[in-house]
Amino acid sequence: MDYNVEIENVKQELMSLGFTDDKLNQLLDLAAQEAIATAMDDLKEADDQTLDELEQNIQTEPTNDEDAVKQLNMVFQKAYGDNYENKKLELMYQYLKQTVEETRAAKDLYTRYQAGDPTAVATVKAQEGNPEAQKIMDMA
């Protein structure tokens, strides 16, 4: 699978769903962060030697973007080997694809809610008072 092509396709889907440039950029950053966090989780299973090498190579704080990117790439490389570039794109693609599904489901639910679909209304009503909703709104 060519993740470059797939990511481009998913990006267009997101645009068709209503993601603007700004939202898409934010989403892409979230996807990148998620990918890095996933790599870090996978590094928990790495052997001591791998962690030692990482520790030695990223001891210095990055002074420019290149150093920062280099350190991040090293994290991926130690976690996924030589195929880390493709793995990065794969993680990005999965996150964006999932966002597409989530957005479509939300749009569908919203449409049905507006149409008065009892199931949709019940689903939305069930979320009223959910503290998680308030936390999300607090970020707005």
């Binding site: 470059n4 092509v5 990511i7 481009e8 396709n9 990006k11 267009q12 645009m15 068709s16 209503g18 993601f19 603007t20 440039d21 700004d22 939202k23 898409l24 950029n25 934010q26 892409l28 950053d29 979230l30 962060q33 890095i36 966090a37 590094l43 928990k44 299973e45 001591d48 990482l54 520790e55 990223i58 704080e61 973007d65 150093d67 920062a68 990117v69 350190q71 991040l72 790439n73 994290v75 996150y95 966002t99 989530e102 957005t103 489901a105 939300a106 749009k107 639910l109 919203y110 689903t123 939305v124 069930a126 979320q127 959910n130 998680e132 909703a133 999300i136 709104m137 970020m139 707005a140």
Partner: protein
């Protein structure tokens, strides 16, 4: 006169008294002293009476209902020959009532005479030597009971008695027949009984009997055993699946009474500070994503989530949460991924050396995590906040952001994979289509100039390619929105693809791409993407040649 020598020519076997009377001879008028002798076996009563052989017979009738017989009759003849009365029948002619009536009316005073006629089918003992015992018995009975009975003076009871006797005889005959039938049936029964006793008894095969025994405990067929085990395993798997579905429903279906809302912070108290922070960051990212989605839903007209704010975003957020719970996306990202904690492993370790080793590993990992966060923050300049794609462009796409390499030129309306027009709009007018790319100069593929196709020598050269100018539903997918209909939209869209990916017509032709067929294919199916077209009609290599787009060029 005997029947044999009947000189009167009559058919009667005997000469009756009537014949005598009719011949003009009357017993009383007979001049001879001796009545005419006859050779009949019997003499009529009149003859006997006339001959004076016996005194007149007197009738003593006790039954008052029977009128007494008038007059007396005697046989006038004399015969010493014994007579077997059984061989003859005797009748009075004319009968008594006729004689009486004639007498009263003065017609005649002729009395009745006894006419004896020989029976035709009288059987004697000599003629029927083969009498059955029953018949003999009957004859004996009749002789004993009818001895001396001549039947001339039967009373009513006598008649009844005779009727009863006849009935007895009939019943005896019937009884005889029944007995015969009974004898036959008995014989048949005996025959059948003898046959049944002679039948060969059934020799039952013990093995067969055992095999057919319905209560036999059969040993399990090996195949059946396997089948049962398979069914058992299938049932077990089915039950596991049901349990998993129920658990999913409990976790993500808001209508489930046991619903546990997603997104609840699940940071374990047993995780280290760094691990806890990492999990918090993950939850934070998930919330940001939901906020973005809520902004898309609530901001269908272009408002951002931030612009909506407060109560306006409440419903979209609620809907987003409900939808996420319904499709279980959180589980896919978080729940399915069993984040295992080094800290927990360290705590669970019983061996001190192992514990120390795990602790050392955890500390190294936390250092890497910390430095990684710094790198991210350095690139984005805002830690885990919004970095407007800078992290992506630098860390993931070699410094070329995914969005910053968007298409140029007015009128660009990207489509999704399904060919649907991008409904994006508003949002400060910063859509990709309206935003100049990095160079600031729109790329021109050279396919369209002044709204017309530029393909010298091609039949489509000079065709309209203005793109959608109408506002009918369907946008660029609706040919009625373009001046030149389908052809217009097809060529216009191909030009958008080429511009977006910085592909010159000359380069595409040099790479073997059939531009004419690409344009025509888009007219037929405007949802096709550029990679599809390049794969079908050649020229895929032009994508790799476009170094200016980085690792991920814009491909539509």
């Amino acid at each position: 006169m005997t029947p044999e020598n009947n000189n009167n020519g009559g058919d009667a076997p005997i000469r009756s008294s009537i014949e005598i009377a009719m011949s003009g001879q009357r017993p009383m008028d007979n001049t001879s002293t001796q009545p005419e002798s006859t050779n009949t076996p019997i003499q009529s009563a009149l003859e006997k009476a006339m001959s004076g052989e016996r005194p007149p017979i007197t009738h003593e009738i006790n039954d008052p209902s029977i009128a007494p017989i008038q007059g007396s009759y005697e046989s006038q003849g004399l015969s010493s020959n014994p007579v077997d009365l059984n061989k003859y029948t005797e009748n009075l002619k004319p009968d008594i009532s006729a004689v009486t009536q004639n007498w009263e009316n003065g017609f005649s005073n002729t009395p009745s005479v006894v006419v004896a006629a020989e029976r035709n089918n009288v059987k004697t003992e000599k003629n029927s030597p083969e009498k059955t015992i029953h018949e003999k018995e009957m004859e004996t009975y009749e002789k004993e009971h009818n001895d001396g009975f001549n039947g001339k003076h039967l009373s009513q009871e006598g008649v009844k008695a005779l009727g009863v006797q006849d009935m007895i005889v009939d019943l005896a005959k019937e009884n005889k027949k029944l007995m015969e039938r009974l004898d036959k049936m008995q014989a048949t029964l005996d025959k059948l009984a003898s046959k049944s006793t002679s039948t060969t008894p059934y020799d039952q095969d013990p093995a067969l009997a055992e095999a057919l025994d319905p209560n036999k405990v059969r040993p399990l067929n090996p195949l059946e055993d396997v089948k049962n085990k398979t069914i058992e395993e299938q049932n077990k798997k089915a039950q596991q699946f049901v349990d998993q579905v129920n658990e999913e429903d409990r976790l993500h279906n808001p209508l489930n009474p046991n619903y546990a809302p997603s997104g609840i912070e699940t940071t374990s108290a047993d995780s280290s500070e760094a691990e806890g922070q990492a999990e918090k960051n993950r939850i934070e990212r998930d919330r940001k994503k939901k906020l973005l989605i809520a902004g898309v839903i609530g901001g269908g007209v272009g408002l951002t989530a931030a612009a909506l704010g407060g109560a306006a975003i409440a419903l979209p957020v609620t809907i987003t949460l409900g939808a996420a719970g319904a499709i279980g996306t959180v589980v896919k990202m978080v729940g399915e991924r069993q984040t295992y904690s080094l800290y927990q492993m360290e705590k669970k370790a019983t061996d001190s050396a192992e514990k120390a080793k795990l602790k050392e590993k955890r500390e190294k990992w936390e250092k890497v995590l910390k430095w990684t966060d710094r790198a991210i923050a350095f690139i984005g300049g805002a830690g885990f906040g919004y970095m407007a794609g800078s992290l992506v462009s630098k860390a993931f796409f070699g410094g070329h952001g995914l969005l910053n390499s968007g298409p140029t030129g007015s009128g660009y309306h990207p489509t999704n994979l399904n060919g649907e027009p991008n409904p994006r709009g508003g949002e400060g007018g910063t859509s990709i289509g309206h935003q100049p790319i990095e160079s600031g100069q729109p790329f021109d593929s050279g396919l369209v100039k002044d709204g017309r196709v530029v393909l010298p020598g091609d039949p489509s050269n000079g065709n309209l390619a203005t793109g959608p100018i109408g506002n009918l539903p369907g946008g660029e997918l609706n040919p009625n929105n373009a001046l030149g209909g389908q052809s217009d939209l097809g060529w216009w869209k191909l030009n958008q693809y080429l511009n977006a990916n910085h592909i010159k017509v000359s380069d595409l032709q040099a790479a073997g791409g059939d531009i004419h067929r690409m344009g025509y294919a888009l007219q037929v199916d405007p949802t096709q993407t550029l990679p599809d077209l390049l794969n079908k009609f050649g020229g895929s290599s032009v994508l790799g040649q476009n170094a200016g787009l980085g690792s991920t060029g814009i491909i539509r």
